[in-house]
Amino acid sequence: MVKNRQSKLTYLLIVILALLTLSPVVMLVIGSFSKGLNTFGDFTLAKYISVYTDPSFYAVLGNTLIFVLFSALFSTILALFLAYLNNRTNIPGKFMFKVISVVPMMIPHVLFAVSWALLLNPSNGILNLLLMNIFRLENAPFNIYSIRGMIMVEGLLDLPIAYLIIAPAMASFDISLEESSRVFGAGNMKTLFRITLPVLRPAILAAFILCVVRCLASFAVPSVLGMPGRTYVLATYIYRTVTTGFIADYGKAAAVGMSILILSISLIYVYRYMTRSSEKYVTVSSRGFKPVVIELKKARIPLFVILLIFSFILIMLPILVLLYTSFVPYSMVPSVKAFTSMNLDHWKNVLNDPVSLSSLKNSLFLCIVGASLGTLLSIFISYVIVKVKNKASGILESLSFLSFSFPGIVIGIGFMWFFVRTPLYATIWALLIGYIATYLPYGIRPMTSAFIQIHSHLEESSTVCGASFLTTIRRIVIPLLIPGIVSGWILMATMFFRELSLSVVLSRPGTETMAVQILKFSNDGLWGRLSALGIIMIGISVLLVITANLVGNHFKPETN
């Protein structure tokens, strides 16, 4: 009977998951061959022909390649450098690495991009003005509205992702592999290039590929920093197709989206293959393994300063710039004049702006309800993946992994084709479903690892000790799951709260989210209001994470 119930649950979950993840893809495919939103299914190749014969499309493609490859390279190299510093040297202040890898998640990408625009835009960027004053320059020395600027900002944004993949590999690296190389006559450099980097290659490549997928899907940076300089990448090209012009051409957008989606899905499967095959590099680890630390000596303090600057750039700088901008009446270099003219006008404007307030409400709703529903669904799916383990659960795993590769804006177009045919169109529920479908893997991953921890012996021994099924669930399973539930919820909540790329396609007047409202402010150049709303957004985001952590600690199993 248990088996029967389990398989019913499995099939129900497969149906739900297929609806969530496959329907937008199917709709995207059909949509790309259709004449328009209202003539769904009327077959035509016109959209593909018009996209792929357009010379300007190839310029966009070129931009995308450069943007994606160099951003991913930048993040990967930075992550490698930082992971090495953390795991292999005696650099002081190691807790900073934890901060660097976690805290940036709380800062929405669109705000991070905006803060750099505020600093380095060519007309009145704060840093540019400052440098022009100091060195008496005629022109702004930096232009963030360029592909170089985009690469730098996107690279910094994806740094934590790359770091979280490379650092554990670096930490578990068996140091005697390097020592033996030195015993057998290779110096430090030779050892680095012939042993260390090749052994870490699977992790490095995995980080790079994941960064490529993220950059392909990235919308915040290309829209805030690329569009003002007319540097378009595929994501912003799609956005332009559906937002400008006489009528939004969702068919053409779908045809463009197809190429991103195919690329993205193939890369994610390459990534999956790589991380699987990386297990083959697991070596015997020694007893009493003591990682040998490289004495940095004279380089210790300079490297620490570099680390400090990094964390400052990643975490403090965006917040400081936004705070400052939210109080000064217009963009100016920090000075006595700037500080005396500070006022609360922007804050008052935002707090009296009905659209901003409704966006706040919408985002909070999506984040709390969405993350809770998403976590609930993740619990069931992870349970089937880990504990049921039949053929169907394999399908479930693959399906849930698929949406990992979904670029928000593309899947948004797919959902658009879907929702337009349902009463959900232009409601907040459309966003809710889209969010859960796109970000489900982020909930499933921590849940599966939590379930894996609960060895069936733990449940069985509880039963042997005389506990009923419900007692076992209450006293053994749930407490052990709590950390997974909390981290899954936090991950989803922070992602939902800052979600932009899906929202810009699906939100309509009345269902704007905070990130969409911020993008609107950015397009209109209303930096002060944007900053005020942005600070509110970051504040709520931090509060969410702290609360969820406290709740999680409250339920944590007893530890000393």
Partner: protein, 361 residues
């Protein structure tokens, strides 16, 4: 090549305590022999080995390999590891997982810049020597533990170093394989006439493998000697106890007589193997369980005879591991597995004077 170590010191500081990993070590490791550093974990043996190879920097002292000073605090000499031209087998084997067997073994030669054809020849030869012929193309990750161990050995031997170092290389093998490999390793090394320095905490491994054993404790070399000397004729209680199970009884020297030393213990007088200690010295009498001779009752006119009661008997196959109570002392004894004795029976036993070993602190 001989290795000379003089005044070597290495201190670690952790949680406000000083740990003396090497506490003024003076040692000469003989050329072309197998020398084993034996000791409990944390005694400094691995630190000493790693200092010889250059992966660890001592605080003070000098290390000379052959005629070359490779490290000296006074003369400010540090020859980097890669320039010392040694071979080493690591505890984890440290087989590079991204290379095949050939490239793993060829690596030391490639670093010397040897011509390709010669490298191929040498690698093939070495692999034949460790009985891994034909494994060249095998990925390193597709090897069993024993095969990895052989690759590690081949890699350490291929460049024909004068000195080869082993850091507990057998500790990751299962018991049966460990025994076989031990035997093989001994025959390889004696055939090659190479100076081998071997670190282990396993006393049987040390006894079976070595020409000379150096026993270490708390950063110091306590005793050096051939395996038999260490086993039968240790001078320190720590060494005697570490190398094999022993009954230890406090003893005081009473007189030297007929090339024996007589001591007084709580169980009466014992006639022991001669040791040159002054009268009234406080020593420890050390008797190994296998040297306790059970005797028929009444048929005893031997020295060092004791009577007691059999308290426990555990059958482990080749012997009974038993305990005999004499007064307030429990004697460990190995008893013939075919004995008719049972727990509770009265027992009389004796120990030959040459098996009564007097050791100092």
């Amino acid at each position: 090549m001989e290795i000379h170590i003089r005044g070597l010191k290495k201190y670690y500081y952790s949680e406000g305590r000083t740990i003396k990993a090497l506490d003024d070590v003076n040692l000469t490791i003989p050329a072309n022999k197998i020398f084993t550093l034996l000791g409990p974990s944390g005694c400094g043996k691995t630190t000493l080995l790693r200092s010889i190879v250059g992966l660890e920097t001592p605080d003070e002292g000098e290390i000379k390999i052959g005629d070359t000073v490779v490290w000296s605090s006074e003369k400010n000499i540090y020859v980097p590891t890669e320039k010392r031209g040694l071979g080493m087998v690591f505890q984890t084997y440290a087989i590079w997982p991204h290379m095949n067997v050939f490239n793993n073994v060829a690596y030391p030669l490639q670093n010397q810049g040897m011509p390709k054809a010669e490298i191929e020849e040498r690698v093939r030869e070495t692999l034949r020597f460790v009985q891994l012929e034909g494994f060249e193309k095998r990925p390193a990750t597709k090897l069993s533990g024993g095969q990895q161990q052989r690759v590690a050995l081949a890699r350490a031997l291929v460049a024909q170093p004068k000195v080869i170092l082993f850091d507990e290389p057998l500790s990751n093998l299962d018991a049966k394989l460990r025994e076989e490999t031990r035997k093989e390793l001994r025959s390889f090394l004696t055939e090659l006439e190479i100076t081998a320095v071997y670190v282990t905490h396993d006393r049987i491994e040390a006894l079976a493998l070595s020409d000379t054993i150096g026993v270490m404790r708390s950063g110091k070399i306590v005793e050096i000697g051939a395996p038999k000397k260490i086993y039968f004729n240790a001078e320190h209680q720590f060494v005697a106890d570490f190398i094999g199970r022993s009954n230890l009884i406090p003893a005081k020297v009473k007189q030297q007589k007929d090339s024996f030393t007589v001591v007084q213990t709580s169980l009466g007088e014992f006639v022991c193997k001669e040791r040159d200690y002054p009268l009234d010295s406080d020593l420890t009498l050390c008797i190994r369980p296998e040297f306790i001779d059970l005797a028929e009752e009444g048929a005893l006119d031997q020295k060092n005879t004791l009577s007691g009661v059999m308290e426990t008997m555990v059958f482990v196959g080749d012997v009974y591991e038993s305990e005999i109570r004499v007064g307030d002392v429990l004697f460990m004894a190995k008893v013939d597995p075919e004995t008719t004795l049972e727990v509770g029976d009265p027992v009389t036993f004796s120990v030959k004077p040459e098996h009564c070993l007097l050791v100092s602190e």
